[in-house]
């Protein structure tokens, strides 16, 4: 009698998948494919064992966006090849596992910089698209999605779909910011930003309160390419909102006398030590000593004092140093161990921003859970379906989580959600750990109304039923509802399959370890050639894959 078919994938694939903020973790079967066939194999495994699949890039989402408890996690970091680069036009084509770090190092020497970067260079492009990341230049450049010329999306049933603002536009605007719930973005074409120097002109501005902070942003947004503010959350009353604002702009041609020097990757590198003796890699250990309420009150006060001295200074700084502030202390999150941290980032229309920010900081102070770090940014709306941006401001707040305060932090976050929703605000899912489905729905309803009013040219923005539109699209692209993360379960609930793929019943499937890798095109979408075929490369040897099932893991 043949042995029973396995009820689960091999235990060797089991891994702990932890949120970047370390506040949640789950166990999943992690696949690390490097080709489309590998992706297909992972989807087939999920199908065979009736599991769900979540996509993971660099793993930099603060919450549960890339987790799938007891399911399959597709880690795309091995799909990290740069496929084509046109230094004349600044157009790059690459796989989703390419990181921002990899990207800027590749293009800087030719005078191009990623048009939008987050605070860390370790995010992958696939993850960046899935979250539709923004940078300190959101008010000017929009999110990264606005710089994507096209991408190829592989749906769970193996179809490849080319998406751009002109082709499959509905999928284009939904998959960017769709958190990997519609398919796997397997190839990305991105327009880079032309730069004439590796330096930025920076202006530092000390602000004594919220009013000054908003005024400083407004005054500089026309002339600056980047504006970002640090706010001292321990300050209250008349000092509330005090902090330091940095406005930066790219250098124009001829402004940098020696652009070849600043456009050298070496000129962008940070030194290995801080104050000559403290290794940057050990900095989090020093930070840990101060990561308590009195310590952070002291640090914030000292920083304010230093900010007053810095006020009005103008200087030049390398692009990488200015943009990737979070990388200046590697593994800084370890300073928050063992409980981790959450980041609460809300986006508020400009008319309500000051009052909402004042209220949420005051509420935090009243509840005795003061954010240790607060970062303020300026934003503008964008045409993406699940967009988080508004014509207004965002405030990102880092809260330390401990065993004792965990429930109180979550309760505070829910209370702040109400304030944000009253102010017409929205949330950024890449940072989220606490949002409820109803708060999410309410924020998107407000968003849809605003988006249709403000961007009438956007064809795909629905009326007020944004979530329904997204889920309809999901049903079309992923009728088996294979792609579900812990984040999606939290915000949409478990999604039931609308139709099963034509295949043998589960009992028979379990006895068929091999599945023909050939995928039939459907009537809905035409199946183009896989992108590796366009590159003139041979597809992976399928026989080898069969011989060595570990190959793709």
């Amino acid at each position: 009698m043949p042995p029973d078919p396995p009820s689960r994938p091999p235990a060797e694939l089991l891994e702990r998948v932890e949120a970047w903020g370390m506040t949640s973790a789950s166990v999943a079967y992690v696949y690390r494919p490097s080709t489309l066939l590998g992706l297909d194999e992972a989807f087939e495994t999920a199908r065979r064992f009736a599991m769900k699949v979540a996509l993971k890039g660099g793993g930099n989402s603060y919450g549960d966006a890339f987790q799938c408890a007891e399911g399959v996690v597709l880690d795309l970091t091995r799909m990290n090849r740069i496929l084509a680069w046109d230094p004349a036009a600044g157009v790059i084509r690459c796989e989703p596992g390419v990181t921002i770090d990899q990207l800027w190092r590749y293009t800087l020497g030719d005078g191009w910089w990623p048009p939008v970067v987050p605070g860390t260079a370790h995010v992958t492009l696939g993850g960046a698209l899935a979250a539709n990341i923004h940078g300190k230049n959101n008010f000017k450049a929009g999110p990264i999605g606005e710089h994507i010329l096209s991408f190829e999306l592989m749906t769970p049933n193996g179809r490849l779909l080319t998406c751009s603002p002109a082709e499959n536009a509905d999928v284009f605007y939904a998959a960017i910011g769709g958190f990997g719930l519609l398919g796997v973005i397997v190839c990305i074409q991105l327009q880079m930003k032309r730069i004439y120097s590796g330096l930025l002109n920076i202006e530092a501005v000390y602000v004594a309160n919220w009013k000054e902070a908003f005024a400083a942003f407004e005054k500089r947004e026309a002339g600056a390419d980047y504006v970002v503010g640090w706010i001292d959350c321990f300050a209250s009353d008349s000092k509330a909102g005090r902090g330091l604002i940095h406005a930066a702009r790219y250098l124009q041609p001829e402004e940098d006398a020696h652009p070849e020097e600043s456009l050298n990757v070496g000129a962008q590198e940070l030194p290995d030590t801080v104050l000559r003796y403290v290794a940057r890699s050990k900095l989090h250990r020093v930070m840990k000593r101060f990561l308590n309420r009195p310590g952070m009150r002291f640090i914030n006060r000292m920083k304010c004092r230093a900010a007053r001295k810095e006020h009005g200074k103008r200087y030049r700084e390398p692009l990488a140093k200015f943009n990737f502030l979070l990388d200046s202390a590697p593994n800084w999150k370890f300073a928050y161990m063992p409980g981790g941290l959450i980041q609460y980032q809300c986006f508020i229309p400009k008319d309500n921003a000051q009052s909402v920010f004042e209220r949420i900081i005051t509420l935090s102070q009243e509840r005795g859970i003061v954010p240790y770090l607060a970062v303020m940014k300026r934003h503008r709306p964008d045409p993406f379906l699940l967009s988080h941006a508004v014509d207004g401001y965002s405030l990102a707040l880092d809260y330390k989580v401990t065993r004792k305060n965990r429930e109180r932090v979550w309760s505070l976050a829910h209370a702040m959600d109400e304030i944000v929703l009253e102010g017409g605000g929205r949330f950024y899912l890449a940072k989220d750990s606490t949002l409820t489905s109803s708060a999410f729905e309410q924020s998107l309803t407000a968003q849809a109304v605003q988006a249709t009013q403000e961007t009438p040219t956007h064809q795909t923005t629905p009326t007020t039923r944004t979530i329904q539109t997204f889920l309809q699209l999901k049903r079309r692209l992923d009728p088996e509802s294979l792609l579900q993360s812990e984040l999606s379960k939290r915000l949409f609930g478990p999604l039931e399959p609308t139709s099963a793929r034509t295949q043998p019943p589960p009992a028979e499937r379990a006895e068929q370890p091999e599945r023909p890798p050939h995928v039939e095109p459907s009537q809905d979408f035409e199946l183009p050639e896989p992108f590796w075929a366009e590159e003139g490369e041979r597809p992976p040897d399928e026989d080898k894959l069969k011989e060595n099932p570990q190959h793709e893991r």
Partner: protein, 249 residues
């Protein structure tokens, strides 16, 4: 940080300490897979825990002496629970052994249930937790395992063996973030001890379950239940062998 168990397997949940641990965990919202030999008893406990609307307790009938079953059974439980945070091995037997009785069949039953069954169940669990980088394993030892008592040689040997096996697991898995806890209860009121009558220091199974879960939450290595047995055990361990053999234990 104290673990927040959401999904647990209780082996030996059809009565005694295992049943009480399952009930305590479920009352805190933890989903429990009830593993035991007596299917009717498991179903009754599950119905009792779940009431009309809950789905916290799931019965999985299995004999711990079926050593080939656990690998698949653990997967079955994990699938049903949606994950795994805690495993408690509380299956155990202690048949009455006469002072002049040397019965291999009884000894085999004891060792297979108390020790080999534990290995069969905890090996796949250890493999899973090692990969997952977390989890808690609790094994129910006994103060009887501290010394070779003349009353029930096989029982003492099985519990001593279990303690040693759990210590090895702890040494293997500790660096991977897995907590392995050996609890050593004194006499506890269960079906197993009913025929022994009222013993000194005996505690109800519900109280033992509370103390066991408390010890497991503290990431303790070895915990005596209740704590006073630690002192009793230290005294017993210090008694020279020539005196210990004369004691009526």
């Amino acid at each position: 940080m104290a673990p927040n168990w959401k999904r647990a397997i209780i082996v030996g949940a059809s009565g005694g300490i295992g049943e009480q641990i399952a009930r305590k965990l479920a009352s805190g919202g933890c989903r429990v897979a009830l593993v035991g030999r007596r299917e009717d008893k498991l179903r009754q406990i599950a119905v009792d825990i779940n009431g009309v609307s809950l789905n916290l307790a799931l019965p999985f009938p299995s004999d711990v002496r079926d050593f080939d079953a656990p690998a698949a059974k653990v997967e079955e439980c994990v699938r049903a629970l949606g994950g795994l945070d805690l495993v408690v091995y509380s299956a155990g037997v202690m048949p009455r052994i006469g002072p002049t009785e040397y019965e291999t069949a009884k000894d085999r039953l004891i060792v297979e249930t108390n020790l080999i069954g534990a290995m069969a169940w905890l090996n796949p669990v250890a493999k899973r937790f090692e990969r997952a980088g977390g989890g808690t394993i609790v094994g129910i030892g006994s103060v009887s395992g501290d010394r070779g008592r003349r009353g029930n040689p096989a029982y003492s040997a099985s519990k001593a063996g279990l303690e040693c096996y759990l210590e090895s697991l702890r040494n293997r898995l500790g660096r991977r973030g897995v907590s392995v806890v050996t609890v050593k209860p004194g006499p506890v009121e269960t079906e197993m001890t009913r025929e022994l009558g009222r013993l000194p220091g005996m505690i109800p199974a519900g109280r033992a379950a509370d103390l066991i879960l408390k010890a497991a939450r503290k990431f303790g290595k070895t915990a005596y239940i209740p704590g006073r047995w630690w002192l009793a055990s230290k005294i017993m361990l210090s008694i020279p062998s020539r005196i210990f053999r004369r004691l009526p234990l």
